[in-house]
Amino acid sequence: MNRAIRLIRRRAISSIPVLLIVIVLTFLLLESASGDAVDAYLLSIGGGDATVAQSLRQAYGLDQSMLARLWLYFSSLVTFDLGWSVAFGRPVLDLIFERLPNTLLLMGSATALSFGFGSALGILAGAKPESIRDRVLSTGSLILYAIPSFWLGLVLSIVFAVQLRWLPTSGIETIASGKAGFARALDIAKHLVLPVGALALIYMALFLRVMRSGMAEAWALDFVLFARSKGLSRSRIVLRHVARNALLPLVTMLGLQSAAMLGGSVVIESIFAIPGFGRLAQEAVSGRDAPLLMGIIVVSAVLVICVNLLVDLVYAALDPRVGASEPNT
């Protein structure tokens, strides 16, 4: 337990400067945009005179210098205030917290499914490297991993929603259905089958490949040779010795992919019209809503840091060597 606390503390301390860099760089990027949120807002309501623009800029603090605004952003960030969304006319944090659960549900289910099936198929492929079964699974996963997620989503919805009419094409639940409790959960699950499937299939291919190559490497290691010379049964060697060691890089991959998955949710949510975090990012871009976009990038960075921390803890639980005797830096 002591080890876990030490790990968390070290991660948290090292994350602070990184997060500061993210905030400053994002601020500078959004600062270089021509035109600000007031311009975008006036454009959307059909124009306005200069005095209105001036008073709006004053209200949002846009007339101050860049450094002053960066300082303002930092000082409000400390109180968990991410600013005001111009396009939605609501606090950024409220918007993000409203959308985040849908995305977490989508990503969580996709991760669980792809990790489970990917590692299981990876064990099947890696149990006998270079066999026919391995070649079929490896080639299949290579092709699957080459498919862009948004296109796979479209194809799945053509087949299962448009042609077969088994599943709904878009949304997170049936609007104004009045369902509650279990019926509502079932309704949401039905809506999530296609988007989760599109994401999970592609990441399953990735996990399969990582598991398979990890196992192929482990077969050559001394302790596997030793286990074979002891006369252990093949299935026991595969599961206890080879697969168990190949699982570690898979867990690392899970952390590394969390940022990519969050990015991938933008297109998937746009295709299936799921009101989630990724779709919010797209709406922020089309509404030229700099405070919202800024908030989205900062929150996604925090989210990735948290996932990586979780992955570190799992890794430490799987591998007792990690963090056992490292100094507190």
């Binding site: 990184v18 290579l142 080459a146 296109w151 448009v162 940022a259």
Partner: protein, 276 residues
């Protein structure tokens, strides 16, 4: 040259190289194969595929030739993918070399910046970057490179740190070689192979990112891309799904080609390391 021979000897490398060579030819000769602007209207709108020999893959909502779009889109996809990967590798090599050599505070500072770029989802970064600067091909290339340089930088730094301690580098130092000469003549060539193997993966990711960006309408509106074709076909997905399906298949074939090439390259590089 020997690397190329080793590469072709692996089945993955041979097939991958074949696919990529064919695509390169298509990209180069697209203006010959289908002359004229692929975005111009050439025939009746919404011609189904495989019905008119003049338009083998049919036409879209505005009567534009789908085959012409796919042929010309090859050029955009490959050019953007290669350019973005090249830029990412160049930035990554510079940052990684500097961090690995300088050490101390410079190393610490640069690696925190690398961390920052790794925890921000690269697609979100590209989305923000393109929307701020405005969509054009160079901006898209830069946006993709910005999200992809962190991995090669980290790998290069790790390579430099391990090679710096080797005997031949120590002996170069002893005979009084200039540090810059050591960096570029002794360390860089030996640090390069794993970064090279990574570069193919970066090309594939760059092609997919470009497609996703133009699918969301953030690509250059003046060039035809597979992503924008898929987005265009999506509006009439129910009546003519083939408009979205064909460009997607082109995309998958391209990325499979890059992956196979990268697997062949990795195998060729590792077999070379085993037999010096």
């Amino acid at each position: 040259m020997r690397l190329l021979r080793d590469l072709v000897r692996t089945p993955e490398g041979a097939i991958g190289l074949g696919i990529l060579a064919a695509l390169m030819l298509v990209a180069l000769f697209a203006p010959v194969l289908s002359p004229g602007d692929p975005l111009r209207i050439t025939g009746r709108a919404l011609l189904p595929p495989f019905t008119d020999p003049a338009f083998p893959l049919g036409t879209d909502r505005l009567g534009r030739d789908v085959l012409a779009g796919i042929l010309h889109g090859t050029h955009t996809s490959l050019a953007v993918g290669l350019a973005a990967a090249l830029a990412a590798i160049a930035i990554g090599l510079c940052v990684g070399l500097t961090a690995g050599f300088a050490g101390g505070l410079v190393d610490e500072g640069l690696m925190r910046v690398v961390d920052a770029f790794q925890i921000v989802p690269s697609f979100l970064l590209a989305l923000a970057f393109v929307s701020v600067i405005g969509a054009s091909v160079p901006v898209v290339v830069l946006a993709i490179a910005l999200g992809a340089w962190a991995d090669p930088a980290r790998l290069t730094r790790a390579q430099v740190l391990s090679i710096r301690e080797r005997d031949y580098v120590a002996s170069a130092r002893v005979i009084g070689m200039h540090p810059a000469e050591i960096a570029f003549r002794e360390i860089l060539p030996n640090a390069l192979p794993p970064v090279l193997a990574l570069s193919a993966i970066i090309v594939a990711a760059a092609i997919l990112t470009e497609a996703a960006l133009s699918f969301l309408g953030l690509g250059d509106p003046n060039v035809v891309t597979w992503g924008s074709m898929i987005a265009e076909g999506r509006n009439i997905l129910r009546s003519s799904p083939s408009l979205s399906i064909f460009p997607g298949i082109a995309l998958v074939v391209t990325v499979v080609g890059v992956y196979l090439f990268s697997e062949g390259l990795t195998k060729a590089l590792s077999s070379r390391r085993l037999e010096p």
